[in-house]
């Protein structure tokens, strides 16, 4: 606080008494409009306190007379978005899969809706891009365990694989080694034969012996030449595309202990329009037949 008001000689303005290295600060008054703007912001904040959630308390906060919450706003927005999607979803539910494919706008909508549902429901196992993981099939290539037509994919998504649903896709590979149906040597031979189907065998003799084992035990489901059978969920063994792995040790383990991948029946969890959109989306990932 200056003890004495000093006037600047040049401008005639009073100084604040603050001085830095001989430079003195002029006491130029603030404009009144600035002061009133400041009061206006205070009034604004008081109005805000009253209208909106503002003050924290020990268990929660003041609600504000408008009752507005951020969560409520998001819920309302989601509600509105759902309502806006309604007409297209009803059209998709009422159309056959073929009709959806043929209609440009339904197809585009199904692709977008399918992508979003895929990211939520399917990506945890099949990967965000549908590339799969060990035990979870790749959906991008054209090798399908249970069939790759639009209808096949639709049925698989609806009822799933090896689950409690009545219409679930079911098949069970025998545990050839664990249940003593084949000896360890026979399993080794048949694995060598399976490798030879994708031209990877290094032991022609074992493969030859394995061919006989295959003809006796495996051909009923996996078919001649290992081309597989989607009717029974028997994978193609010749394409060098593997769900559980294609090295010899993994094939031996698959024959010894069998494999039984499982997938939920989505009809119990999702509405028909979403399942249809998923089928169209998965079919369009690249491998659809």
């Amino acid at each position: 606080m200056p003890t004495k008001i000093e006037k600047d000689a040049v401008t005639g303005t009073e100084t604040t008494g603050h001085e830095w290295d001989g430079i003195k600060e002029l006491n130029t008054p603030l404009p009144k409009w600035w002061l009133y703007s400041y009061y206006a912001t205070i009034l604004w904040s008081i109005a805000y306190f009253v209208l909106y959630p503002a003050w924290p308390s020990l268990s929660g906060h003041t609600p504000g007379v408008l009752g507005w919450t951020m969560r409520g706003e998001i819920a309302a927005e989601m509600e509105a978005a759902k309502a806006a999607q309604g007409p297209m979803l009803r059209r998709i539910a009422a159309s056959s899969l073929d009709d959806i494919r043929k209609s440009t706008d339904l197809q585009a909508y199904a692709m977008a809706g399918g992508r979003s549902a895929f990211g939520v429901q399917c990506a945890p196992c099949h990967g965000a891009g549908g590339a799969g993981a060990k035990g979870f099939p790749n959906l991008v290539d054209d090798s399908w365990i249970w069939g790759g037509t639009l209808d096949d994919i639709y049925t698989t998504i609806q009822f799933g694989i090896r689950n409690a649903n009545d219409k679930s896709r079911l098949s069970q590979m025998p545990r050839f080694g664990v249940d003593g149906m084949l000896t360890a040597a026979q399993i080794d031979d048949v694995a060598e034969y399976v490798l030879s189907l994708s031209r990877r065998s290094r032991d022609a003799g074992a493969a030859k012996r394995g061919e006989a084992v295959y003809a006796e035990n495996c051909v009923a489901c996996h078919q001649e030449g290992g081309k597989g059978n989607p009717e029974m969920g028997a994978p193609n063994l010749a394409a060098n595309i593997w769900t559980f792995g294609g090295d010899k040790a993994t094939i031996v383990e698959s024959v010894r202990n069998a494999r039984a991948g499982s997938m939920p029946a989505w009809i119990d969890r999702l509405d028909d329009a979403t399942i249809k959109m998923l089928a169209v989306y998965v079919h369009a990932l690249g491998g659809g037949k």
Partner: protein, 501 residues
């Protein structure tokens, strides 16, 4: 206190003295907050005032009439010459059409505008502030209305001081109502740039326009009324950053409003002298009539020298010239001049104008470079653009027959006003075939149809035998898009990935 001597000398040395001054006294001496001192500019006529009216008329005409200009673009595009189509994500300016991807045209335009401003300021001073700035134009218009309703400077000062009466309230009401009407028209014209003007104007008056449109009309009504009617010169002195740094563009060769102190001083009222005596002997030309101060829209005295508040409008030049003509002294006591010239004139040396200076050369060359780049970009603007995004998850997939497939998402931007059919080819990968969703037949080409003025998105698959890739994990692939006549062409280089050897 007794006249003349200070209190210190009267205090006995043994008593400690506190020289504190009560806050009341301090506030009385120096208020913490200052009210605006209202400026009452006096009307003036003359050369610069005429130019200022002309610029004002031109700027307002452009602003209010430009949305009504039509420009035929065919049936698939709007026919408004200047239009910012927010929902359609396009901007139209006569023959130029800008997509959001090309917002650099706007950047370039703003850069050019800034450099033009720098160049003009360094050559001719604050022409922008004094003549063309919207704040100046609308404030001038509001002052004109004020003068029509309340009279000129003296009448307005009298009215301000007068007690409330029916006529005062009537005048005030008329003034503010007129201001609000102009402000509303300003806001109304603003939104016309964002929609079809003839349709929109009908919707605005019949209450069918959108909330957004009414909001912006309201916003611009409020800002125009506040800034041009109430705040006025405070916008220039408190709010606008330009006066703060425009002095960086000025030097002693820039034209600014100057007062010829060397011949004006010592100033004084023109006194009657004895017959035959020279009334101008021993005094300057300035008759201290304060006309320059009375006409100044920012309320400063130009005779104090260069000031931040001076917007360079030159109205004080007109006012002073009128007085100088009356008293038969040379015109131009207050004039647009360079500071260097003023120094020269003060010594009786001839005035020289130096327009070519390192500063102006620099500004002009930067302007030429940016202008040429933008012009070239505009002339080379294509009618079609293609962007290719390759799938990263998975990078590739192996098919049952052993071939490798990569997936790409292709965006084709059709910037023409007609539907276009394009042919897509891929080169660089031996034996590659193309398929797409909805086009399962493998072939060398794909057909892509794009609606007028829109983007066609398609997901395509490129499938190639592993043998042709020679074990390369990454092979260069070039997509080529050919339009039918007038459709243009585009290329995009990407890669085709496969398992490495």
């Amino acid at each position: 206190m007794d006249g003349g001597s200070t209190s210190e000398t009267r205090v006995p040395p043994s008593v400690a003295v506190d020289e504190a001054v009560s806050t009341k006294v301090q506030i009385a001496a120096q208020p913490l907050y200052a009210s605006r001192i209202k400026v009452h500019p006096k009307s003036v006529s003359g050369f610069y005032r005429t130019i200022k009216w002309a610029v004002l008329g031109f700027c307002l005409s452009v602003y209010y009439l430009a949305p009504w200009l039509r420009w035929d673009r065919g049936p698939n595009a709007p026919d408004q010459a200047i239009l910012i189509d927010m929902p359609g994500r396009k901007a139209y300016f006569f023959m130029i059409e800008i997509w959001p991807q090309e917002v650099y045209f706007l950047t370039g335009l703003l850069v050019i505008a800034a450099i033009v401003l720098f160049l003009v300021t360094s050559l001719f001073g604050r022409l922008w502030c004094g003549y063309a700035c919207p704040q100046t134009v609308w404030t001038d218009l509001f002052m004109l209305v004020e003068r029509w309703i309340e009279g000129d400077r003296n009448a307005r000062i009298k009215l301000d001081a007068a007690p409330n009466s029916v006529s005062k309230i009537a005048k005030r009401t008329a003034k503010h109502a007129s201001w609000l009407a102009i402000a509303a028209a300003t806001g109304g014209a603003w939104v016309l740039y964002f929609g079809d003007a003839p349709t929109l104007i009908g919707e605005i008056f019949t209450g069918r326009a959108s909330v957004t449109e009414y909001f912006f009309i309201g916003l611009f009504t409020a800002t125009t009324y506040t800034l041009a009617g109430l705040a006025r010169e405070q916008v220039c002195t408190y709010m606008c950053p330009w006066p703060r740094f425009q002095s960086a563009m000025l030097d002693d060769q820039s034209y600014v409003v100057t007062y010829e102190a060397w011949r004006g001083e010592p100033r004084g009222k023109l006194a009657k002298k004895a017959e035959g005596a020279d009334p101008w002997a021993g005094r300057g030309d300035c008759v201290d009539c304060n006309s320059c101060v009375a006409t100044c829209p920012t309320g400063i005295d130009i005779r104090d020298g260069q000031q931040l508040e001076c917007i360079g409008c030159g109205l004080c030049v007109d006012a002073c010239d009128a007085v100088m003509a009356k008293v038969n002294r040379p015109l131009g006591l207050i004039r647009f001049d360079t500071l260097a010239n003023q120094q020269a004139r003060a010594c009786g040396a001839p005035a020289t104008h130096k327009f070519v200076r390192p500063r102006t050369i620099l500004y002009a060359s930067v302007l030429a470079v940016v202008g040429s780049v933008m012009l070239a970009a505009l002339l080379l603007r294509t009618t079609v653009e293609m962007n290719v995004l390759r799938d990263r998850n998975p990078l590739f997939s192996t098919l049952v027959d052993g071939r490798i497939r990569n997936a790409y998402t292709i965006h084709v931007l059709n910037k023409t006003h007609a539907e276009q059919v394009y042919t897509l080819r891929a080169a660089g990968v031996p034996g590659a075939v193309l398929t797409a969703i909805g086009d399962d037949t493998p072939g060398d080409t794909l057909r892509i149809v794009a609606k007028p003025d829109s983007v066609a998105n398609s997901r395509i698959f490129v499938t190639a035998p592993l043998a042709g890739l020679r074990g390369d994990a990454s092979t260069k692939i070039e997509f080529r898009l050919d339009g039918a006549s007038g459709g243009g062409r585009a290329e995009y280089r990407s890669v085709f990935l496969a398992p490495g050897r």
